[in-house]
């Protein structure tokens, strides 16, 4: 939120006057309240406790009231000419609708619950309150219209908290058949959050001096706040998983010569200098530290199989659609079909794999079924991104190649495909990131038990066999149920308390699995995004 008010400073470049300072203080106050509301919602600050020597709820109420009074004062001051602004005749219908919503809620709740008039009267009161707020916004000049209803909303909410009408122990029993209640713990932060957003919006408008520029300011504050919140949310999410997952991941980890397991690289037996049991062990009775190696290997094979199926099919289809086929009904049908496939829910792919693939591959869940199901999921994405990449290859390239007298296929092979390669590669990598984290399809087609012992880590290459009966080639590893990271996490969640017998600290184990899954998926995304930047930079240099 600090960012939002800073942005406000950059957007309008004029000298700061005292009235501007008032509006800027109001924006700052909104920022503080916003932060307090978020903190209260996640119980970082206690509602029953005190903050800066004042009871939290009283403080919130006081600040809200102050903000409301400031907003109203600015609007009224502008109306009577003591503040220099540039308001329009009306604040507009959208602002009116925006102001009406909270008043509908307040009017309805007060009439039906606080005063006890019942639902019907409540509905009437809700509409009436909303209509008054709407009229008060739309009818007067913009400076009053966009401050008075919102300012009084802030002031009323603030006074309710300040006077203790809604205190920290307030509870509203909804009286429903399935018991639920709205508590002060929830209502106070949420009400503070939303009214503060309104307050910030109104003060930003005031800061911009109303009119077109004021609306611009108001909207920009909200839009910037939204963008910042999304990025902040992403960071919080990832950071939270990392913080929770690292202890479990590093459980028993060791660095030093000869500590790691022995492995064979290019035919030479090497003892790794690091040991991270969580990613190097399976689950076994006598393990010191349990791990998820089979699930990691399962995920890797799953991705390889899906890519081997989907990339040739998808690129081939894209070549046909862009280079061979004329635009017409056929290409349109294919386009609709690919987009339809792209938005088909993952669980439906799972059901399809269950009904179609499982009876055809040994009548049981198998790695192969999982691969093909995920390949089907990846296919539309490959088609769409490859098509986009090929369409963006300039026609001059094709013409220049055709002018050399080579055939169409040669043009495609040596001109179009290389030029489209960056787009295709990026699209495939991002698509792989998406399917690597999918649980629902493999749930029905591939995944086996919760814990897979290390001995069952799949070895696809090593288990190809030739048989005398059709189909002549067999690969037991492909036809066995195995695990993958997303499924492993799901199984760990649903296993609940029963986990304790195999893992000493189930919760750390779960979080570590989530972290590994996140690392695997996000590294695909990181590679994909980096590839895109690399190719874009190189294109610019040429």
């Amino acid at each position: 939120m600090a960012g939002a008010s800073r942005t406000g400073g950059n957007l309008v470049e004029k000298e700061t006057t005292e009235t501007d300072a008032v509006a800027a203080v109001a924006i700052g106050l909104s920022a503080v309240l916003f932060a307090l509301a978020i903190a209260a919602m996640f119980e970082r600050i206690s509602l029953t406790g005190t903050l800066a020597g004042v009871e939290t709820v009283t403080l919130l109420g006081g600040l809200l009231t102050a903000l409301g009074v400031a907003v109203i004062a600015f609007g009224v001051g502008s109306r009577f000419g003591s503040v220099e602004t540039d308001p329009d005749p009306s604040a507009g219908i959208i602002a009116g609708g925006g102001a009406a919503v909270p008043w509908v809620v307040i009017g309805g709740a007060v009439a039906s619950e606080t005063l006890g008039f019942g639902t019907a009267v409540g509905a009437v009161a809700a509409v009436a309150a909303g209509a008054v707020a709407f009229a008060a916004t739309v009818l007067p000049r913009e400076d009053v219209g966009s401050t008075l209803p919102l300012g009084s909303l802030l002031a009323v909410t603030g006074l309710v908290f300040f006077t203790g009408v809604i205190g920290p122990t307030w509870v509203w029993e909804l009286g429903w058949a399935q018991q639920a209640a709205i508590t002060a713990e929830f209502l106070i932060p949420v009400a503070t959050l939303f009214t503060t957003l309104y307050g910030g919006w109104a003060s930003a408008k005031a800061y911009g001096g109303f009119g077109a520029r004021g609306r611009h300011m108001g909207a920009y504050v909200l839009v910037y706040l939204n963008a910042i919140s999304i990025v902040a949310f992403l960071f919080t999410l990832v950071a939270y998983v990392v913080v929770q997952g690292v202890p479990g991941l590093l459980n028993g980890a060791d660095i030093g010569l000869g500590t790691g397991p022995e492995t064979t690289i290019l035919g030479v037996s090497v003892t790794l200098p690091v040991s991270v049991p969580f990613v190097m062990n399976g689950v076994a009775l006598f393990n010191d530290f349990q791990g998820v190696l089979p699930a990691i290997v399962g995920t890797v094979w799953l991705v390889i199989g899906a890519v081997l199926l989907a990339v040739p099919l998808g690129v081939g289809a894209a070549v046909f659609l862009t280079e061979y086929a004329d635009r017409g009904r056929f290409t349109q049908v294919v386009e609709v079909a690919t987009n339809g496939l792209w938005s088909t829910p993952s669980i439906v792919f799972g059901l399809f794999g269950f009904a179609f693939l499982i009876p055809r591959f040994g009548n049981g869940k198998s790695l192969l079924s999982g691969m093909i199901t995920l390949g089907f999921m990846l296919l539309p994405l490959v088609v769409i991104t490859s098509r986009e990449a090929m369409l963006s290859v300039p026609d001059e390239y094709r013409d220049a190649s055709a002018a050399l007298g080579v055939s169409k296929w040669q043009t495609i092979r040596s001109v179009v495909l290389p030029a489209a390669l960056p787009g295709v590669v990026t699209g495939v990598i991002l698509g792989v990131g998406r399917i690597a984290g999918e649980t629902a399809p493999i749930l029905l087609t591939m995944a086996g038990g919760t814990f897979i012992p290390e001995s069952q880590t799949v070895d696809v290459i090593g288990s190809f066999q030739f048989t005398s009966a059709p189909p002549f080639v067999a690969n037991p590893a492909l036809l066995e149920a195995t695990s993958a990271l997303p499924y492993q996490l799901y199984a760990l969640i649903t296993a609940g308390v029963g986990l304790g017998s195999s893992v000493s600290d189930p919760n750390a184990f779960r979080w570590a699995t989530a972290l590994i899954l996140l690392i695997v998926v996000l590294s695909f995304y990181a590679i994909g995004i980096a590839t895109r930047y690399y190719f874009r930079r190189r294109l610019r240099h040429n």
Partner: protein, 377 residues
């Protein structure tokens, strides 16, 4: 997509005759050995498909034949072989969609028969799944009603849309119109990464952090509420809305925007009176696709919901979350067999059809918008 561009030129018969003429030309122009190879490839691939559908052990034989002829063709007649292979791959995309439709519906037939109901003397198959709210797979009368799950999906989708639509459109405006280039380079990959976080991770956080918190805040018995599943699913649908809406906004011609700015409007005025109205259909397609994502979201819902298929009391009680169409499949596929398994396929069919309709609708809207803006389709 009914009003296809070339439908005026004579409809299906003329299209077929054009195709026939083309095929004949192709046959005339191509050398006989190449034709033979193409014929063998096509036939063997078709045979392999039939064999696969018939669950035959011998499927591998025509498939190997196909691979062999394709290899020979690749060496001798690369041009024609590449064409045929590309065509086959294109057809396979449609084929997969067709197979999904066939298999999902085929599996759901028995339970649709079982759940027939009689209205005014007419027996309507499957009707009883939608007119009574009781799902009971264990004790008689055994009933597989879809009503509780449809209710759950509708609740979750409504809440998710109220989260995803305004936030997503606002973020798309930010990315496409407002953000300076450097900020966009940070926020855009951020939104992409948000789309990449696996749904089970969202579900896990929802289950361990949000669930207990919500049940404490609302003093409910046990955890799992449509409200928070909806919010989480809305956040998951957000990236879809952002990226599609951003595409739509940036496809509005720059000249329209500069024309407005030259009149002395603020950026925001240009956005609300030029860019957003021009891109309105694209933006609504983005919201629609986001809704489609929310409907199909599985794992977060499965982990966070209670898993008891019944209606909440009262219906608007969002503080209790029972079951959605997606989560009932993920939760019950293991124990289910017979009719219950088929009932899960009915849930899948409902999901599939709904999302397909939404997807086609969104594409139609986008297509119309591109046409109106005078760009290429």
């Amino acid at each position: 997509m009914a009003p296809v561009t070339d439908s005026e030129s004579g409809g299906i018969p003329s299209a077929v005759s054009t195709q026939l003429r083309r095929t004949r030309e192709f046959v005339d122009e191509t050398e006989p050995p190449a034709l033979a190879i193409i014929a063998v490839m096509t036939l063997s691939l078709f045979a392999a498909l039939v064999g696969f559908l018939a669950v035959s052990d011998l499927t591998i034989v025509p498939f190997v034949v196909f691979l062999g002829t394709a290899a020979i063709g690749w060496v001798r007649y690369q041009e024609e072989t590449a064409y045929v292979i590309a065509l086959a791959m294109t057809v396979s995309t449609i084929l997969i969609l067709g197979l999904i439709i066939v298999f999902i519906f085929r599996e759901s037939v028995p339970v649709i028969r079982y759940e027939s109901a009689t209205v005014y003397g007419v027996t309507v198959p499957g009707l009883r799944m939608f007119i009574q709210p009781n799902w009971d797979a264990v004790s008689p009368p055994i009933r597989y009603s879809m009503v509780p799950m449809i209710h759950g999906t509708v609740m979750v989708t409504l809440i998710a849309s109220t989260v995803a639509a305004p936030l997503g459109v606002s973020a798309a405006l930010f990315l496409s119109e407002i953000a300076p280039a450097t900020v966009r380079e940070v926020v855009k990959p951020g939104v992409e990464i948000l789309a990449g976080i696996p749904s089970i991770v969202y579900g896990f956080i929802g289950f361990t952090v949000l669930g207990p918190w919500a049940s404490d805040q609302f003093q409910t018995t046990g955890q799992g509420s449509y409200l928070f599943v909806g919010i989480v699913v809305g956040l998951m649908a957000l990236p879809t809305v952002v990226s599609v809406a951003e595409d739509a906004l940036s496809s509005v011609p720059e000249s329209m925007k500069s024309g407005s700015l030259a009149m002395g409007t603020t950026d925001w005025q240009t956005m609300t009176s030029i860019t957003l109205p021009a891109a309105f259909s694209g933006v609504s397609a983005a919201v629609l696709l986001g809704v489609g994502r929310a409907i199909g979201e599985t794992m977060a819902a499965t982990v966070m919901l209670r898993g008891v298929p019944r209606l909440t009391e009262p219906l608007v009680n969002v503080f209790y979350g029972q079951e959605t169409l997606t989560s009932i499949i993920a939760r019950n596929y293991g124990e289910a067999d017979g009719l219950q398994m088929d009932a899960l396929f009915v849930a899948g069919a409902i999901l599939f059809v709904t999302v397909l309709v939404i997807s086609v609708g969104a594409q139609y809207i986008e297509w119309r918008m591109h046409k109106r803006l005078g760009g290429e389709i």
